[in-house]
């Protein structure tokens, strides 16, 4: 009788990269649907452009590096990066924004570092920051939700705006964003930031532009965030992501926004607004949880998420940019190796580092 002796690991969870990526891509659907419902076809068109460019770039780089094409090209990671980038780009931004962004994400942030598993930064967010820093005008012109627009923004109009800068009737994005009273409408976070720097209080801003914020917290955005929350819960149930990062991220946002709000409620928005405006839920469930760029142990992930939440509140309340998910994700990516170094779990049989010193 012969025993076949194999080396460890003896148990495999039989999950492939492509299966995980497919699951995450499926989980973005509710959020993308909400975006489509409130902001029109723009983001779907951008996602399409981003996927095309990302796959072409990936194909070129992989063939230059002599890597097996069908293993890496179709593992879904490039598609997921492209989808996350397409979601974050303003719906009516010009087409070349997405092209530059997705090429940068795949070529520089992912492949130059050595491909999937070796990238230090989240490719989609690094590309988003590149675009935001390079083209501040195009990257901040989110149009208001469709219900506030003067014209009907259907698929053809969105397509024409993205590729030519004007709708079929000849409206520019600036004109689309102009309210009937003559001021420019922006995202709730942007409106808040701009007017706070002008010296208004939260209450005054809400009274001056009630339509931007809607009846609840942030018109349109609250449903987009709810959609990504739904997708995130689906991922948690499917055990595709670990609970630690979203919980500690949202928890630390709760704590720090509560501190700021109780310190000065006139200038610091409440927690629910922070949770439901901008890219909070997308960041919490889809971006911070990227297994390549986050910390590895549970303790490390709790610290990682808490740091990210703190940075988001800090930048949103005090910094110069309206939203802060991308910046804090990149800063936390940089901190992840250090966090890992200090939170190495104790291996069974090994003492704590202090004990080991004594044993020596």
């Amino acid at each position: 009788m012969a025993f076949f002796i194999a080396s460890s690991p003896h148990e495999h969870n039989r999950s492939k990269t492509s299966a995980l990526m497919r699951l995450v891509i499926m989980a973005t659907i509710p959020g993308i649907f909400a975006q489509w419902y409130f902001f029109g076809w723009g983001n779907l068109i951008h996602i399409g452009i981003a996927i095309t460019c990302a796959l072409i770039t990936e194909f070129i780089v992989l063939s230059l590096r002599n890597k097996p094409l069908n293993k890496y090209l179709l593992d879904g990671s490039a598609i997921l990066t492209a989808i996350l980038l397409g979601i974050s780009i303003p719906a009516l931004a010009p087409w070349w924004i997405t092209v530059i962004g997705s090429i940068f994400a795949i070529l520089v942030v992912k492949q130059l570092y050595g491909g999937l598993g070796h990238n230090a930064f989240n490719p989609a967010m690094a590309a988003y920051v590149l675009l935001l820093v390079s083209f501040p005008v195009q990257m901040t012109n989110w149009q208001p939700p469709l219900s506030l627009l003067p014209i009907d923004l259907d698929f053809n109009n969105a397509l024409s705006t993205i590729f030519t800068g004007f709708t079929l009737e000849g409206y520019s994005v600036e004109q689309l964003r102009t309210h009937i009273d003559g001021f420019t409408m922006a995202t709730p976070l942007d409106t808040l930031k701009t007017n706070l720097t002008l010296g208004l209080t939260l209450d005054e801003i809400h009274r001056a532009m009630p339509m931007v914020f809607g009846e609840n917290f942030a018109l349109g955005w609250e449903w987009v965030n709810a959609g990504f929350l739904l997708g995130g819960v689906f991922l948690l149930i499917k055990r595709a992501i670990h609970w630690s990062i979203p919980v500690s991220f949202l928890g630390s946002m709760l704590i720090f926004s509560f501190i700021a709000y109780s310190f000065n409620p006139d200038l610091n928005p409440p927690t629910m607004f922070h949770w439901l405006a901008g890219g909070t839920m997308l960041g919490a469930f889809f971006i911070l949880t990227d297994p390549v760029t986050c910390a590895t142990s549970v303790k490390g992930r709790l610290i990682f998420g808490a740091l990210a939440g703190f940075l988001v509140i800090l930048i949103r309340n005090i910094g110069g940019y309206p939203d802060a998910i991308a910046f804090s994700v990149l800063l936390c990516n940089m901190a992840a190796p250090l966090i890992d170094q200090y939170t190495i779990p104790r291996a069974y049989g090994q003492g704590t580092s202090k004990n080991t010193e004594e044993l020596k």
Binding site: V108, L130, V133, S134, F135, V137, Q138
Partner: protein, 237 residues
């Protein structure tokens, strides 16, 4: 004898311009390299200033090398470099005021540029004046070339122009040097900002390494001649 000296100069030039280039290989003086190369004109201005200081400080250090006590040589070198930087700074203040303003703090900061003190310490303080000045010239030229390449890349990507503001450095006639290669409605700000300099620098270093490895691959390999012995193994069938 002449053969030997000419090969020595050749070696100095090869070291300064390519093999041991201060910008690409030694990675010295990165602060001005990355900070002021947003346009070709700025890059050229700083490159020329550094070149001038490097040649004159190398010559001076080499000239006094026999009288400088070893213990206090570094302060003396810094003093010499600072004197030349002050000269260059006053000259630029007088003749190219616009460029002087746009280079700002990076002009006096040439004093702390590691390329200069490095060459003074490593080469000029041990070699005769002629070779030391030539070494300064080659190292300075190598540094300036890297500055220029970075300036060209960043100005092209950032503004779509070349030699914008060359009249600040070269006089009024140079205003006609400005070339508008292409025109965008929105600038690619990243190329002008410091991160763009890091990206461009990384790509240039990668290109240099790629060229080096290609050259190395093309060279015939020198095989070490080993004496081959026939091994007879009677057990093997």
């Amino acid at each position: 004898m002449t053969d030997q000296t000419s090969s020595e100069y050749k070696e100095l030039a090869w070291q300064g311009l390519w093999k041991n280039n201060p910008g690409l290989v030694q990675l010295l003086g990165l602060c001005p390299l990355l900070a002021v190369t947003s346009t070709v004109t700025n890059a050229l201005g700083l490159g020329l200033a550094t070149l001038l200081v490097l040649v004159s400080s190398n010559a001076t250090v080499s000239f006094i090398r026999l009288w400088v006590p070893k213990e206090i040589r570094i302060p003396i070198f810094v003093l010499i470099i600072a004197a030349f930087v002050t000269c260059v700074q006053l000259l630029m203040n007088a003749f190219t005021y616009g460029l002087y303003q746009s280079l700002g703090i990076f002009l006096p900061l040439i004093v702390t540029n590691c390329v200069i003190i490095g060459r003074a310490e490593a080469y000029a303080s041990k070699n005769p004046i002629k070779q030391a000045s030539f070494d300064g010239l080659m190292m300075g030229t190598g540094f300036m070339l890297v500055l220029l390449i970075l300036g060209v890349i960043r100005e092209l990507l950032g503004q779509g122009t070349l030699f914008d503001g060359a009249d600040l450095l070269l006089g009024d006639w140079a205003a006609s040097l400005r070339i508008e290669v292409f025109h965008f409605d929105s600038k690619f700000l990243l190329a002008i900002l410091p991160p763009g300099a890091f990206f461009a620098m990384g790509f240039i270093i990668a290109a240099k390494n790629a060229i080096d490895s290609k050259i190395a691959a093309r060279k015939p390999k020198v095989e070490n001649k080993t004496i081959e012995r026939v091994r007879v193994n009677f057990d093997a069938q």
